[in-house]
């Protein structure tokens, strides 16, 4: 536990220094939850290096006897793992761009304008999430087939964006709501067009919202399985969740491959999060919000 005197953390301070015990408490809470968060993840890692294809083990050892990186080697040599990773990256990044773009503009309309059908739209957007996905399987296949989207990434792009948008729209609307209108009014008086005001004044202040929206869109596409299984028919076009699923079979799942793939699948997410998370750190955007 870090009992050292509290220090400023490189980011603008939250005022005077905190008492040592409060900082200590922060570390205590964080460490506790880090252990909780990491332990099951370590278990997954443990499965990935366990010989003999076992999901469960009878002891608590993290490094099992005769541990091996065999599964990782097999992923790259025997399975088209890199192709799946590439497909997933392409689809997820496209969904992120489209999702953030549509949510950034749509959310702004919902936050700033009282147009006809606004309340209905907001509720209607929500209702799309209320139907159990199980029952959508049948009609979904019909829609995908009729739109000739079988075996295309375009199909994934459309459906994933539609899945991610309801949350993203509401989230962006929430973020715009926290930004005072007075700043936009000032820009308007200076002669900026509505679009220019939105892009140059409002959007930069909503960066944390954009980051969350991007992360959410990315994760939606990165981990989605049901729609992908309906659309993609070619192993060469598989995204990672489909690839992972191909190691799974009732009572004869390849646990080593599955777990090692799961570990590798989470690495890009961690990288994306690290890249984006500096925008979730205190102080970077706060300056502009000052009135």
């Amino acid at each position: 536990m870090s009992g050292k005197s509290p220090r400023k953390d490189g980011t603008p301070s939250r005022g005077p220094r905190e008492a040592v015990w409060i900082t200590g408490l922060r570390h205590l809470v964080l460490l506790f939850f880090v252990v909780l968060a990491v332990y099951p993840a370590i278990n997954v890692f443990s499965i990935s290096i366990r010989p003999g294809n076992k999901l469960q083990s009878t002891d608590l050892a993290i490094f099992p006897e005769n541990w091996t990186f065999d599964s990782y080697v097999r992923l790259f040599t025997e399975e088209p793992f890199l192709t799946w990773m590439g497909n997933s990256l392409l689809v997820s990044l496209a969904v992120t761009v489209l999702g953030v773009g549509l949510a950034a503009t749509g959310g702004y309309a919902l936050s700033r304008f009282r147009f006809v059908g606004r309340n209905t739209s907001m509720l209607a957007i929500l209702t799309t999430q209320m139907f159990p996905a199980t029952m959508l399987l049948l009609p979904l296949y019909v829609v995908i087939a009729r739109l000739h989207l079988i075996n295309t990434f375009l199909g994934l792009l459309v459906f994933y964006t539609a899945t991610a948008l309801p949350f993203c729209l509401w989230q962006m609307k929430g973020f715009y709501d926290t930004i005072p209108v007075s700043m936009e009014e000032a820009a308007r008086i200076d002669g900026c067009s509505r679009w220019k005001t939105f892009v140059t004044v409002t959007l930069p202040l909503a960066v944390p919202g954009l980051v969350i929206t991007a992360l959410f869109s990315f994760m939606t596409a990165w981990s989605e399985y049901i729609v992908a299984a309906q659309i993609l028919q070619d192993e060469e076009m598989f995204t990672l969740p489909l690839g992972l699923k191909s190691f799974q079979a009732s009572m004869s799942t390849e646990w080593g491959l599955y777990a090692s793939a799961a570990i590798l699948v989470s690495i890009p997410v961690v990288i994306v999060f690290m890249l984006l998370s500096r925008y979730l750190v205190s102080g970077l955007t706060v300056g502009g919000v000052k009135e």
Binding site: S13, R14, A109, L126, G174, M251, V270, S277, V289
Partner: protein
């Protein structure tokens, strides 16, 4: 110069656009006939399959075969959906047990007319599945050609511990007692004599047959016979292994049994042919696995016989006869079931062939494993292909689990199995007929449409008036709404109609609107568990969401202060979100294991707490699901809260500090209200998602364990639709879920004024 630049720039953008579109479409032209095969061969089998497909394509240069792996249940539900939509793969490969259902649904074609004379004579009778349409019982159709027979259970024993396999159940019990070792005398053996999967009734079948019982009244019958003296005797025998002889563990699912045997902690395991390869190739000095036929039941003299199924190829009914695809598909099936191909599978993957001529092949008779497998198969009984078998499994599972959990006696278990099997089969075969309520429905639909048109007309005028004023807003929101509408409108209305229909196993393609019966079944069905499950769903949702939000906020507040190593904490804390939930949910299931799970081991060894039977008791299992889901969901809320906190002006805190306002009050009166617009969407949608979160409950409770008690409404829908084919009922239940969530959202949004926003 400037123009050149623009052309250059636009040209570049154009090329980029074309590339992106080409990449997204995955276009490619092909001259050869393409056929698609959906199969469920696992990783090792796929290697052989790919080689053989390449060989076929070499011999048939005009055909390209595209193989696609789908997990068993995925294949079934996916094929049903695709066939209903009039498309789908030309061929499917899998076990024979769904054939009865496919036949009833009318989604598989007849293979028999398309082969040369004599081709079918070489197959063992068990490997050809002939079925007749109920309306034309004399015209039998060949719906599947098997390329192998098997999928059967046998006894696997560890030669380090047991010299010779047991011939009778008395010997089995004696050997098991000898090999159940409790060295430290804590009452919990370190090594068990015998293990198997206590969850799936498939594993109880050999005990039934050995006692002279069978799931149906006779071969070919679909009347369940689970409450007979023979089946009670079988279940008493199973129970005695646990309660009287103490040679099997208290709770044991597939993965636990597997891990126990592989680590040398179980002397014998009952498992299927799919698992033997893994046992034989174990590279550990502790285990020397040998396969043997299951013993003879001492009290009856009947050998324990597992269910035996064939696996093979079936033709999609949508493939037009005379088409090139049809011809290519038949050629492919001929090739894949030919003798050389079967020998290849047999020698490399130890599968039993479906061609009679191969059964005496030295490859079988010289291989102890294949020989034992073939012997075991002789004692086996063919797995029924009738759709009713699914209802039987469903009805056996809960009482079987209760029996093994010690909750009920063998008599009670048998009685429960029988009555619930009868009920399940009745529901599954139910054919609703349109009743008077159809007229009421039409009336309501007409009024609703009229009302909608009238209301829309008013809104439409308002919209026209508003257009000039708010054109910018429509321009901004339009694309997003279009994308959402394009994907959801059709599925939504499809489900609305379906919920008033009789779509089910027996009315799969020819379903019609029948009225309100499905809704009646939801609220007042004979053994409707609706209200109980609703209660569990509410507990599940409320506890999960409250913990998601409060823990997420706690972590965000903690992280949002001056702490060293923030970046590292943050990354570690989002790991539960980053790792695919399927594997982490199953990891949690393993951690909740009664004897070997980390949760109990840590609680008992480090803290001296009593062990909790997490997965074996009704509300504990729900708690286990909740803990898993909270673990999965907190990082998301934490990230949202962190993002929201960046927009709160620091001056507010500074002013509060000067006024010596306590931290709690700062949180209560500054942080929370300022976070509200950002948190509200997450809370609203988080509630909706949690309410409908099928995966976690399904995976952690292993589809409803114990005794089918751990369900929330969506997992119940899933079961009804996928196990009993009650599409209409499932759609009605989905509509009920939909309206409950709609009402919740309306009330919640009104109360919190979430739609209003900036003022």
């Amino acid at each position: 110069m400037a123009a050149g630049k623009i052309i250059l720039r636009d040209g570049f953008a154009g090329i980029l656009l074309v590339l992106v579109i080409a990449g997204l479409c995955g276009c490619g032209s092909e001259e050869r006939t393409r056929i698609v095969l959906w199969h469920q061969m696992v990783v090792d089998e796929r290697v052989v399959l790919d080689e053989l497909v390449a060989e076929f394509e070499r011999l048939n240069p005009d055909v390209r075969v595209q193989t696609l792996y789908k997990e068993n249940e995925e294949l079934r539900s996916g094929f049903q959906a695709a066939a209903l939509a009039g498309t789908g793969p030309e061929l499917i490969y899998g076990p024979s047990d769904p054939m009865g259902a496919y036949m009833t649904m009318g989604i598989v074609g007849d293979l028999s007319p398309h082969f040369e004379d004599g081709f079918l004579d070489g197959f063992t009778p068990r490997s050809l599945t002939w079925l007749a349409d109920e309306k034309k019982p004399d015209e039998k159709m060949l719906v599947q050609i098997g390329d192998r027979v098997g999928n059967h259970l046998a006894l696997v024993y560890n030669r380090n511990l047991i010299e010779n396999p047991p011939q009778t159940t008395d010997e089995l019990i004696a050997l098991a007692i000898e090999n159940t070792v409790d060295a430290d005398g804590d009452g919990k053996p370190e090594q068990y004599g015998l293990v198997w999967n206590f969850i799936e009734p498939f594993f109880a079948i050999p005990f039934l047959t050995g006692h002279g019982a069978w799931v149906f009244e006779a071969e070919g019958s679909t009347v369940p016979a689970l409450d007979t003296p023979e089946s009670v005797a079988a279940m008493e025998f199973i129970k005695s292994l646990q309660s009287e002889h103490n040679v099997v563990p208290a709770g044991c699912d597939y993965e636990t049994a597997d891990a126990l045997f592989k680590s040398g902690s179980a002397a014998m395991i009952i498992n299927g042919d799919w698992s033997w390869g893994g046992y034989l190739s174990l590279e550990t000095p502790d285990v020397d696995a040998v396969i043997a036929p299951l013993p003879v039941v001492s009290s009856t003299g009947i050998p324990m016989g597992p269910m035996v199924a064939s696996k093979g190829y079936s033709l999609n009914v949508n493939v037009a006869e005379e088409s090139v695809e049809h011809d290519a598909a038949i050629r492919f099936v001929e090739f894949m079931t030919s003798e050389p191909v079967q020998r290849e599978f047999m020698t490399r993957l130890k599968t039993l062939p479906s061609r009679a001529s191969l059964l005496d092949d030295p490859a079988i008779t010289n291989d102890p494993t294949l020989l034992a497998s073939a012997q075991q198969m002789q004692n086996g009984r063919a797995m029924p292909v009738a759709a009713e078998l699914r209802a039987v499994w469903d009805s056996m599972r809960p009482p079987y689990q209760e029996l093994m959990g010690g909750g009920i006696s063998a008599d009670e278990a048998a009685e429960k199995m029988q009555s619930s099997a009868e009920n399940g089969i009745r529901l599954m075969n139910q054919q609703l007929k349109p009743d008077a309520s159809v007229w009421l429905l039409r009336l309501i639909a007409a009024f609703a449409t009229a009302g909608l048109i009238f209301w829309q007309r008013k809104s439409f005028h308002a919209f026209i008036r508003d257009w000039d004023k708010n054109r910018f807003a429509y321009f901004l929101i339009g694309p997003a709404l279009l994308v959402i509408a394009a994907t959801i409108i059709y599925p939504f209305f499809y489900n609305v109609v379906l919920s008033f229909s009789n779509m089910s196993l027996r009315n799969f393609q020819d379903w019609q609107v029948t009225g309100f019966q499905n809704y009646g079944e939801v609220f007042a069905g004979a053994d409707s568990k609706f209200y109980m499950i609703l209660l569990k769903t509410l507990i599940w949702t409320a506890v999960c969401v409250v913990l998601h939000v409060s823990l997420g906020l706690l972590l965000a507040v903690t992280l949002n202060g001056p702490v060293k190593g923030k970046a590292i904490y943050r990354v570690l804390l989002i790991l539960p979100w980053a790792i695919p939930a399927y594997i982490t949910a199953l990891t949690w299931r393993g951690m909740f294991n009664l004897d070997y799970g980390a949760v109990n081991l840590i609680a008992t060894k480090w803290f001296g707490l009593p062990a909790v039977n997490w997965l074996g008791e009704e509300y504990n299992a729900l708690a286990a699901c909740i803990i898993t889901n909270v673990w999965l969901g907190v990082p998301f809320m934490m990230v949202i809260a962190l993002g929201g906190m960046q927009g709160i002006p620091q001056e507010l805190y500074e002013a509060a500090r000067i006024d010596r306002v306590s931290r709690w009050k700062q949180f209560r009166h500054i942080t929370l209200p300022m976070l509200k617009p950002v948190l509200l969407p997450a809370v609203t949608l988080g509630t909706i998602w949690t309410f409908n979160n099928l995966n976690v409950v399904w995976l952690v409770s292993n589809a409803g364990e114990p005794a089918d008690d751990t369900h929330i409404l969506v997992s119940y829908v899933y079961k009804a639709v996928f196990n009993l084919y009650q599409y209409g009922y499932g759609a009605a239940l989905s509509m009920v879920i939909f309206f409950m969530l709609l009402i919740f959202s309306l009330l919640f949004l009104r109360k919190t004024k979430a739609t209003e926003g900036v003022t």
